[in-house]
């Protein structure tokens, strides 16, 4: 893909990114940040690509370190976001440390 096409996609993605979160209510600030954090864990795709092409020992070692870190970001990110949102269940305006009574 040439540079201009990539630039087009990037600029459009900026506007989508601005738009989708512009109306978030303040109680969801932290879960939204955490969810966005999980999404950039998709750098794992890049880490896997680099590790899969490595022929040198040290390149493979560094790439595998990147795979470990990126997996932690991706998996941990989605799990911790889910845990945060679990707390909101059945009580829309729950405070940050009200989580004991898991009403369903």
């Amino acid at each position: 893909m040439d540079g201009v096409q990539l630039l087009t996609i990037t600029v459009l993605a900026v506007f989508v990114g601005f738009e989708v979160v512009s109306k978030v209510s303040s109680i969801l600030h932290t879960p939204l940040m955490s969810g966005a954090n999980a999404i950039h864990g998709i750098i794992l795709v890049g880490a896997i690509t680099v590790a899969g092409q490595a022929t040198d020992g040290w390149v493979l070692a560094v790439a595998l370190l990147a795979v470990v870190l990126a997996t932690a970001n991706l998996v941990g990110g989605f799990v911790v976001t889910d845990r945060m949102l679990e707390m909101f269940r059945g009580r829309k305006a729950a405070g940050p440390d009200a989580g004991k009574d898991g009403t369903r």
């Binding site: 993605a13 940040m33 989605f78």
Partner: protein, 277 residues
């Protein structure tokens, strides 16, 4: 086994598109109380689609090692994320954000020998610097929230000068890497980025740290987008840009909700202690 890739390039591109749409829907869902949890699951599904796609679309070597590394990463992160106390979630998010930035930096470092032109090397040094800043900055925010260090703003007399020097060194070495493609100098850029990340977050007071985490989150998004340019991977470009853009807006919204400005939080301590302790 040297079988040709299972997926044709067109299918790869289409599946990456599915993943990108999932990420957009995830951010949209997370913005509304009703659909937030489902939004997060859609995001995880998108990531799963992307991972299956990368394994099917290219002929990868070292597969046992890669799977092993993924198991290690998941085995470390998932139990911690499941067991963490509600009050400690912000620092855990900071940690996950930091390691993501570190991963982006390492990917960029390894791609440097393959960069054919100066533009790719510009994207690489950008990823190196921003990824390292995010990694080190998140480490400091973690230490502050976990109370491993003082939560008060850390200021010392030479800090503005030191930051200026670090900035000049960063730009200088980055320019040299773009010109020469030297891997050794790229490691220096990474190291300078780490120092810059620490210096950037030290003067921020404990109460403002969540906003800084959000800002560093946007930084990591940008680093991932730049690494996508380097690898020619459209999904990384889209996902990284989405996070970079939405993270920037979110940072401003969070600051506004606390009645503060982002520049006041980052640089308030320099102007005489207007940052909240």
């Amino acid at each position: 086994m040297l079988a040709s890739p299972v997926l044709a390039p067109t299918w790869t591109a289409l599946l990456y598109l599915v993943a990108a749409v999932c990420f957009i829907l995830a951010l949209k869902g997370l913005s509304s109380p009703k659909h937030a949890r489902r939004g997060n699951l859609i995001g995880a599904f998108g990531a799963f689609v992307a991972l299956v796609t990368v394994f099917l679309s290219s002929r990868l070597q070292n597969l046992p090692w890669i799977f092993g590394a993924m198991v290690v990463g998941a085995a470390i992160a998932a139990p911690v994320a499941r067991r963490v106390k509600m009050t400690q979630m912000p620092q855990l998010v900071a940690m996950f954000n930091g390691v993501g930035g570190g991963a982006a930096g390492l990917v960029a470092l390894l791609e440097l020998p393959h960069a054919e032109n100066a533009w790719l090397r510009v994207a690489i040094v950008f990823t190196l610097l921003v990824g390292a800043i995010s990694f080190a900055g998140s480490g400091v925010t973690f230490a502050k929230l976990q109370e491993l260090m003082t939560t008060r703003p850390v200021m010392f007399a030479g800090l503005p000068v030191l930051m200026g020097v670090v900035l000049v060194v960063a730009v200088g070495t980055a320019a040299l890497v773009v010109a020469t493609g030297s891997v050794g100098l790229a490691v220096v850029v990474l190291a300078v980025g780490l120092v810059a990340g620490v210096l950037l977050v030290l003067p921020v007071g404990g109460a403002d740290v969540p906003i800084v985490i959000s800002l560093l989150n946007a930084f990591t998004g940008l680093a991932v987008a730049a690494s996508g340019l380097v690898l020619g991977n459209v999904l990384l470009v889209v996902a990284g840009t989405l996070v970079g853009a939405s993270g920037t807006i979110l940072t401003r919204l969070m600051a506004a909700a606390m009645g503060r400005s982002v520049s006041g939080i980052m640089f308030g301590a320099f102007k005489g202690g207007s940052t909240a302790g």
